[in-house]
Amino acid sequence: MKVGLFIPCYINQLYPQVGIATIELLEKLNVEVVYPSQQTCCGQPMANSGYEYESVGAYNNFVNNFKDFDYIVTPSGSCAYHVKKHYDIIPQTEEVVAVRKNVYELCDFILNVLKRKDLGAAFPYKVGVHKSCHGLRGLRLGSCSEVVEEKYSYIEELLNEVKGTEIMPLKRADECCGFGGTFAVTEEAVSVKMGKDKIKDHLESGVEVITATDTSCLMHLEGLVNRNNQPLKVLHIAEILNSNISSKN
């Protein structure tokens, strides 16, 4: 099984620890991971801003880097979704079709391809799960409250097996955090309000650490938490699943 690792641009530059946790975790699970060094970005930032045509170069670069892998794994539901849903504007060669089909968000890959659940992690904290929208309603990594279906959640299935972790319930389990790419700056007022409300929900539930499948949401929430000196930490799910902390102190 040839697995290529895609590290989203902002994780590469701003949150390398998430990429490191991802690669270490996959290696722990005996996956031989290749990190193609010529990768950049899935192209989403331009496309969601209405400049899809400016992202064609990024799309082609992505396909060139990942066309030879059986699976492409990424610690981002949003990027995986973008490749799957929006790479329809470039010619649908065999390679493009294969890349779109084989791209997986990390939890999805571990649970449904590797068929692993208990990863031997320990993380003794109260955790609030932020269900990032593109993963949830795009990739269907879990059931969402709008749809009448059986309840499931890949990220929670994995977290449930983490020693010491307590998943805290939220009042609004799957409302958007307000990041939304350039939305965060073009609609600054609403974006910030959404983030504040989200954090409030977590704080009121006694959450110590917010986690998600997407660092982009977490960057937005962390920005607010840090500005307002709130007693919360944010960690990507890969960082928790790669932890082995036996006690709080």
Binding site: Y15, Q17, G19, T40, G43, N48, E175, A189
Partner: protein
Amino acid sequence: MSHPNLASIFNKDEKRVDWHDKALWFVRHKRDRSVHNVKGWESLRELGHGIKAHTLSNIDNYLIQFEVNALNNGVQVHWAANAEEHNQIVHKILKKNNAKKVVKSKSMLTEECHLNPYLEADGIEVIDTDLGERIVQLAKEPPSHVVLPAIHKDRHQVDELFQEHLGTEPCDGDPQYLTAEARKHLREKFIQADVAITGVNFAVAETGGFVVCTNEGNADMGAHLAPVHIACMGVEKIIPKQEHLGVFLRLLARSATGQPITTYSSHFKKPRKGAKMHIVIVDNGRSEQLSRPDFRASLHCIRCGACMNTCPIYRRSGGHSYDYTIPGPIGSILSPGKDLKKYSTLPFASTLCGSCSDVCPVKIDIHSQLYKWRQIITKNTPQPFIKKKSMKVMGQIFAKPSQFEKIGKVARWSLRNLPKSFINSKPNAWGKARDLPKGPKQSFDDWHKQREDNKLKNK
């Protein structure tokens, strides 16, 4: 004004935003409780979608069939290509019947056509009879929601409005008292009305009849008392058969308010003895929207308002921030088809979270259409130079790995070394309320390269 501007004004009063958000989230919550109790709900949505898609693919024939049947039922049928014609037709019917007093039940179409000011200019009194509509009419505001027109007003504001316009006693916003007073006030209007105007929720080709849904009973009070009933409908309200009502009436109220059905679902077919009935069928941009394959499904909309209630942006920016007859996510995919430039910020008033598409009872892919409108807007309307340029540069950086690495290094250095006051200064909207991440010394690329190098060395 653009959506971001109006939204930031709305957000100046955070308590009010919280109140508005909670009121609508409560409605969304009621919707959830209701639909999760319906066996086969998702199949029902699938049917709603399928029936609408089929109908649009044969819409001209269904409208012809509807017209034939309506005429046979003794109903007069009129066709209006646009808002102006719609208003003229209605006006003409009023003139012919010497009508001076009109009662109207809720109709987003007549809002869209700005019928009230048109008729009022000729001295005709038009009274909106839905309580929420009456409230916004007294306040001289447009509705801020398709089902809950006055959701942006609190009880105290209604209290004050009624004191001023209806002469009610101060009541500390008691909804029971205010509703009872409205009932009295509007009862008089119903009794005096020369003509009743209603909207249409569904028009049935097979029977030539149409269905109007209300909770208050105002459509029926108007239509059964006045000697003339005018029903105004967009072309997309047509459905093929009566049995299809079984699908849509199951979907509509549950999605709208969580009720199992509206209190009244009235099926009009023939005028009552001695009375007249007219139907005005309106295009006003709908056939043009039908021509756009990516956007025609927006015409499936049954105006339940569920996408508004679920939208985290709508709840925190208010219906008026959209500055369009139909606000919220559905309005944001309908409005660009009407005026691309004027409504160019609406498809961007979304995080593309997709909740709207998942609550939609007729499965309109609202968030995908928002994304598609964005692509069209950037190409066809003037965009800020800086946005256009930065997207181009970003596109080039991401297309060439070598450049990406260089730029990344500079960005991380800046985040680490420039003072916070500079990074979060005014031009950076991110930094107004949020900190930026601390730029790490090493990117993941750097770390990985180092690791690979060490591996080689250790071999």
